[in-house]
Symmetry: D2
Subunit: 334 residues, 4 copies
């Protein structure tokens, strides 16, 4: 495997997910970055935008697309990925990993793939369908909240145990809102502050429901989700609960069995905290039976397992690399 070298291109490299992808790929043992595309920063060194990369690379952004790559990561905004693929005549052999929501699950529950722009996109949640991802040419990378919530509920759905309403609350760091300036990401406002938004109507509910309904025969119950903006930069922590007949031990066995062999998911016996996963590609889960309810806490770093890290994990699978390659990251821990 040491000999494999994948040529990667990044489109939309000046944003947060593009920068995070650069941080990962620069240290990835099997990847060379062919180009980083950005219209706004073309010609400038990437370290002028992603300033922590000073001393790491002399790469400059380019305004020209190159086709001599094995894989192309699309880190552009929602809507822009589809426009990009429609406008460009990409060689069919180039694999695509799209980090926007443009090619995630469509409405039809009969399909495993979303067909669009002449390509079939598989939903890129490795813990759901690793084999399909390995065989796919195009990946729609899941949303950040969607990843955290699905990983909390997949084992239950697999057993058809999602029969009663599911309640979810979750808190996200500010990087989930990207680098564009806005009143809710102004430091003087957000520091020490908390607010909810899109209560019971978050757009990720669609892809969450699509996944879970695809796994169980029974009709999926309601999933109520309260998202919060938190005063921190990285990470998502979700608490989900639903009535469930499993005992504590049965739940632990179910989850341990489901996630066996998935290197990025761990189950914590003790109550976890968000910083256990910050700056890693890990998801940590915690299970607690409380009365009739099973409570599942799930945590990820929104820019890694919730975006660019999962994109690299998908790339590793698509190119038959070690799923861990380039993703053995030191947690920041503090």
């Amino acid at each position: 495997m040491g000999g494999v070298s994948i040529k990667a291109g990044i489109v939309g490299g000046a944003g947060y997910t593009g920068g995070e992808l650069l941080r990962l790929l620069l240290n990835h043992p099997n990847v060379s970055i062919s180009f980083v595309h950005s219209n706004s920063q073309a010609g400038k060194p990437v370290y002028e935008t992603h300033r922590d990369l000073l001393g790491e690379t002399e790469l400059c952004f380019t305004g020209k697309l190159q086709q001599d790559v094995d894989v192309l990561f699309l880190c552009v905004g929602h809507g822009a990925a589809k426009s990009f693929l429609e406008a460009e005549q990409l060689y069919p052999g180039i694999k695509i990993i799209d980090l926007s929501q443009d090619f995630r699950w469509n409405e039809s529950l009969n399909d495993n793939m979303v067909n669009s722009c002449g390509r079939d996109f598989a939903y890129g949640l490795p813990e759901l369908q690793r084999k399909l991802i390995q065989e796919s040419q195009n990946i729609a990378n899941p949303g950040c909240f969607a990843t955290a919530i699905q990983l909390a509920l997949l084992p239950l759905a697999k057993q058809g145990l999602l029969t009663e309403e599911v309640q979810v609350s979750g808190i996200t760091g500010s990087t989930g809102a990207g680098q564009s300036l806005s009143s809710t990401s102004h430091y003087s406002w957000r520091s020490g502050n908390i607010s909810n938004y899109k209560v019971l109507s978050h757009q990720h509910l669609h892809e969450i429901r699509r996944t879970l309904q695809g796994m169980q025969q029974q009709e999926l119950p309601g999933i109520n989700f309260v998202p919060y903006r938190g005063p921190f930069t990285r990470g998502i922590l979700c608490t989900s609960y639903t009535r469930c007949n499993l005992s504590q031990t049965e739940a632990e066995e179910l989850y341990a069995g489901y996630y066996k062999g998935h290197p990025f998911v761990s189950i914590s016996k003790s109550t976890p905290d968000l910083k256990q996963v910050v700056n890693t590609n890990k998801c940590i889960l915690h299970l607690q039976k409380e009365g009739d309810y099973l409570v599942i806490t799930s945590m990820i770093d929104n820019l890694l397992k919730g975006a660019s890290g999962q994109a690299v994990q998908n790339m590793n699978l698509m190119f038959n690399l070690d799923e861990h390659a380039g993703l053995k990251l030191k947690a920041s821990a503090f």
Copy 2:
């Protein structure tokens, strides 16, 4: 009213709620502080412990109790308030406002008062029972999460509209855990971190249920509460939702009617954020009908409306002062 002067004593003045009470009473137009009791800090200036009070007062902590007061605030830990009253022979004429949980609602739904230590304690939530508080000699000040959640649900309970399960999530600042050092209040741990605790089993559920069940005939449904520790110092924000037949307009009218004449509760048309209430005695509510659900967001400062501010509000009522006296506080806002 300008002429009224109430002599107040504070027991347990070296802790967070004691300090906050001092900050309020020093500026209260109708109060003179007779003494601030602390065993650990006896003899030292209060500004050595509550360092922002430097330049405000030369008061020193005392280890001796004085009985020549009109009102005594108990700011000692849970359990210690009861022990204190049992051990001391307080003049019956001294009014008591206890900030611990020792004298909050007892189990019996038939009683409006908790009888203990030879005194009858009224539950001190002015928006629930202002008249009873005005006539009471002893007050059990509500818990912080309990205040935020009750204020979200009182109008529904009054109309008997709490018929289906209520889901609540809430996030609290670090001052809720007081000044004792602990791993979950260590800066390196808590900064940028999120964790849940006591999921579906928080101790405040007891007083919340007691209040709400006391207001409606129908049996109270389950109330599921997920508390979070947030990386900020002051404030609590809760999101509650339940199925409810009211329309958006009907809900707004119900809440506006209920809180008319209550000076510290405001209803926001736009989505609020926690810092609107930080360093004030206010509670801001926001109502949103989403499908079948009514979503209520409620926010308070845990040390003020959730503790010492509400204690002063109760004192104002007990002494027939303007409910606002000493509580027109400048929000810190940022």
Copy 3:
């Protein structure tokens, strides 16, 4: 004094200093707010912009200037205050308090007043020249860093003891940069971050030097100032040191003597921390002799003693009110 009622107008009321002024004046016992001018928010309730004011006032911004006021606060940007006064024909009897830098000390060391726009402006640092302020019609409110540094050095300058280079470092919260969105006030950037800026070239050095040179005969030595942006919202802490022959005791006596009778300055025996002054109009100083050096730590809230609070203090002096009126603020403390 209770009978006095001053009619105040605010120009530029939608910004941070305008909002902070509103928070103060709404609770000021001797002030009624006649109007709050804002071009951008005209017609809207002030609580839509300063959201913590919900429930406090129904005032709306206006686009029209009224002249029926006793005092006008100018809270517009640097440069805009002068333009405003040049464009408007204000009644000469209206007192002006300008929070911009437009009318602060000019270059001439012979003048105590800056003459501009047909008005004489006194530099509004009460601890420097309270009497002059009391007699002035127009005040140029000092800068925030300038206030913190001058209060650290005034007693030395008065004694002609600033003879060797002065080194100053200071850290400011994000509100000093106002509410306009910028990359250095983006939450994802500023949280957990530190940076310096304008090292040895900060614009406030001008007014600092002007004040200090005006107080002592000897030529003022160099003052080197390193400003930092800190990851917090409110407050400024400065550390100044210079070679000085005073002993610890002599220094304490000098400062105690100088600030006697100035209600907002306190001298702390123990090492202070910024949050002792946050959300107050206070300045806390700390003195420490270390070898040949006298080290002075000074701390203020940049929006209060560093801006709107000092403006109200100046107003109190100009109208012969208690210097403390409307400024007995509860510290947020945490």
Copy 4:
């Protein structure tokens, strides 16, 4: 080099520097961890203490020392390292890297090594004396502030240009104070707060002076250092300035020349910010000529280049590995 495998032991593995070392060594391509010693946690999995390591390792702390190692890292407190070496009979062949201050520069300026406990300790600042480190058996790892300040001043000292007083201010994150609970690391106190400490008397001045004086003939001038506690967890940013005849260009050339070939030091043309280095082993410097002064900004992560990362860098040099091995870390960036 891929074949090299170094057996490493850690003493004092339950603290912050021990945990950070574990995070690094677990991913180091040439190291296997033989044991992690902790008296307090003996027998427990390391992930119970360093909770982010859940899913990374099943290693448990041990209370027994093993001697079958190539290198031993001492992560115990100041004073305890010396006691440990005095009490234990370590095989002389075991290399020692001590993270405490026990074996840093002694008073004698004639020695390059500190001789203690029968061992000669070299001061482990690779950018000062890489060759000596490569040949040394025992390393005293520098202090965190000492690293940041020395890296700012080394090129000047090498040229004998430190002739006038040097002024330094620096701000450190909370992890510098370790994991023991204290009032200045209590979240409610430190959040949003700033304070200085040990002004002009910080203990790291000793090792800083010793290094710099050892490099230049001229007597070293005074170095005045104002340290601050900042409201963030990781990192140190220092601003140093001194009168210097070099032009901006000459200074840049001097520093570029000095640090050529040192992989962890970069010089930024634009004003840097602390988060460029957080969670990396890098030091970023910035140079600015301002009047007669040369201003040098230097930034490191206190737990990495300021402690455990530098320890690994020293190990790499001692074992003739790539200096970068195990230290290509993804910055957390936000």
